[in-house]
């Protein structure tokens, strides 16, 4: 009986530790939700599926993607954390500058450019499957997904507008979370 109770104590301790691990797994978004300020960003989505989590809309943000010259200015070889300092323009936030060092103040996003895509913790919006498909169709009809190519077959950067904005929350350390997708 004594060994059984000792095991129960261990199981209770492990369960508590597991529970405390959950906020660690989602720390950035949790912090943004609890302490962050709300901002608006223009978006351009597509809709794939995550095996554990279902259908989502993959969000890209044309206004915070660094251009070639931006990349050159922040030592591009040195991939890792990239801070995107934001400023407001026409009611939405856009990138003002990029930096490898944490900005002293102001509103900024703490992103990661180790992979081919800039990831700022706001890259997906999970929705029920039919809802995700509907948003996708809507975006496709807006013409955002129609790629244009130059004579060398390279995609032409164009300032397309899906008509959607993402409402996000950003905390003081640059952690961000998507709150909602809205039609402008």
């Amino acid at each position: 009986m004594k060994t059984l109770s000792r095991r129960t104590t261990w199981v209770a301790a492990a369960t508590l530790a597991q529970l405390l691990l959950v906020p660690v797994a989602v720390f950035g978004q949790l912090s943004a939700h609890l302490t962050g300020d709300e901002l608006l960003l223009r978006v351009g989505p597509v809709d794939p599926i995550d095996p554990f989590r279902g259908a989502y809309v993959d969000l890209r943000y044309p206004d915070i993607e660094p251009t070639e010259s931006d990349r050159k200015s922040v030592e591009d070889e040195d991939h890792g954390t990239l801070y995107v300092v934001l400023e407001e323009r026409d009611g939405v936030m856009v990138a003002e500058r990029f930096s490898r060092a944490r900005p002293d103040g102001g509103t900024y996003l703490a992103c990661d450019d180790s992979s081919w895509q800039l990831r700022c913790g706001i890259d997906s919006l999970f929705l029920p499957q039919d809802e995700a498909e509907r948003v996708q169709r809507d975006i496709d009809q807006s013409g955002l997904q129609v790629e244009e190519f130059d004579e060398n077959g390279m995609p032409v950067e164009a300032d397309r507008d899906s008509g959607y904005v993402a409402r996000i929350k950003v905390d003081s350390r640059g952690h961000a979370a998507v709150v909602a997708l809205e039609k402008r």
Binding site: L4, R7, T8, W10, V11, A13, A14, T15, A17, Q18, L19, L21, V22, P23, V24, A25, V26, G28, Q29, L30, H33, P48, D50, P51, F52, R53, G54, A55, Y56, D58, S114, S115, R119, G121, I122, D123, S124, L125, F126, L127, P128, Q129, E131, A177, V178, V179
Partner: protein
């Protein structure tokens, strides 16, 4: 699989009910059939009388380890667990995210509590009901993590979520001494390690490091559990970590020997940290072992050296197939045969036939892939199969010789009274 590994390790001798001294001992039907045959021979040889023969046979009864009830329980637990995770993925927006999170958390805590209560009531070792419930609790913890991520819109394809789920499952496995959560934790943890290291390294070399670390850590932990004094639980845990180590070593060598031309980018701190942890565990295990046990404790680390070496070599593979490629393929096959033979030998040493089968299967897949990747461009058509047959027969002969020598060396050792 986990529970069978544990039960196989305990040799089917586990008493699944509290036995009185005169109650028949449960054995597998195959063991009882063998004993009946042998006892018949003893009777006809006059070694025992038919009355004594009956008395001997009456002390055993046939029990199937894989009962249909256990299979149904485990399948049921797995289906319910996966089903709840899919419900989380279905994103039922009729219910508020916080409500969904609380519901899933309550289900998880209820499963943990139910498993613990059942473990108190069912006073048997390895009850499939308790095992199934613990497995379900480990799966439901995944649903909790995924629902938290869902509620907060954490971006898709985030390896951290799988890592936290794995860590939670392992914590639970060790707290409850449950094999089912251990297997779930190991599978998820390995997925997280290979995913995270592979993502950072952006080359197959990161995958070699991740699997190599699993091999080193798996064999070391198997030895530590086997050397520990925690009884049948320890034996089940040891068997599970041992198969993890074997899979890690074999896959690391397999990936290392693939002739891909790639830049050896830095695998990042995570890959080398995992290797470091594996080496430290192996050192601790080695300090508590001697002779053949020492070899098992360090098997993963010993495999790391040729795996990393062949990985460096393979990365310089050119477009064509030259003498260097032949040389590398021959060395890689030789090393792989050695490691596969060692894994098969551990299978014999620990009386775990599934390790031997794993080694044979790995060897077959490895030689086939190497033959097609390297030799195929030179020897085409019918000759490829003739050459492949000769390679198979030769490796089979070498492996079988090694296995027999290891088995006879082991017999010599066990006669000296060394324990497992």
């Amino acid at each position: 699989m986990c529970e069978t590994a544990g039960e196989a390790d305990s040799g089917g001798m586990d008493t699944s009910t509290p036995t009185r001294a005169d109650a028949p001992r449960p054995v597998s039907p195959a063991q009882l059939a063998w004993l009946t045959r042998e006892v018949g021979r003893w009777t006809s040889d006059g070694v025992v009388t038919s009355g004594q023969a009956d008395a001997i046979l009456d002390t055993y009864r046939a029990v199937r380890r894989w009962s249909l009830a256990a299979l149904a329980l485990w399948l049921g637990a797995a289906f319910v667990g996966v089903g709840v995770i899919w419900l989380v993925a279905a994103n039922l927006d009729r219910f508020a995210p916080l409500g969904r999170f609380v519901t899933v958390t309550i289900l998880w805590v209820a499963a943990v509590a139910a498993a613990d209560l059942l473990a108190r009531r069912v006073r048997t070792r390895r009850s499939p009901v308790v095992g199934g419930m613990r497995g379900l609790a480990a799966l439901l913890y995944g649903a909790v993590v995924m629902q938290a991520a869902q509620s907060l819109q954490v971006p898709a394809w985030d390896a951290t979520l799988v890592g936290v789920w794995a860590l939670g499952a392992l914590l639970y496995a060790y707290a409850a001494r449950g094999l089912a959560p251990l297997v779930i934790g190991i599978v998820l943890g390995s997925t997280w390690l290979v995913w995270s290291v592979g993502e950072r390294a952006e080359s197959p070399f990161g995958v070699v490091l991740a699997f190599g670390a699993l091999g080193a850590g798996g064999f070391a932990l198997a030895r530590l559990h086997a050397a520990g004094t925690d009884g049948a639980d320890g034996a089940g845990f040891a068997a599970t970590w041992r198969i993890t180590g074997a899979v890690g070593c074999l896959v690391a060598l397999f990936v290392a020997a693939l002739p891909w031309e790639y830049d050896l980018q830095d695998a990042g701190w995570l890959g080398w940290a995992a290797i470091g942890l594996g080496v430290v565990l192996a050192a601790i295990a080695a300090s508590r072992s001697r002779r053949l046990d020492l070899l098992e404790a360090t098997a993963g680390v010993i495999t790391l050296v040729p795996a990393i070496g062949i990985g460096f070599w393979s990365s310089q593979a050119g477009d064509g197939i030259g003498a260097a490629d032949w040389g590398r393929a021959v060395v890689a096959v030789a090393v792989f045969v050695g490691v596969a033979a060692a894994v098969a030998a551990v299978g014999v040493l620990r009386d775990e036939p599934h390790l031997t089968w794993l080694a044979v299967l790995a060897l077959a897949v490895f030689t086939t892939v190497q033959a097609f990747a390297v030799f195929a461009e030179i020897i085409t058509g019918a000759w490829l199969f003739v050459a492949l047959g000769v390679v198979f027969a030769a490796t089979g002969w070498v492996a079988d010789r090694g296995r027999r020598e290891m088995a006879s060396a082991l017999e010599g050792q066990s006669q000296e009274g060394t324990d497992r």
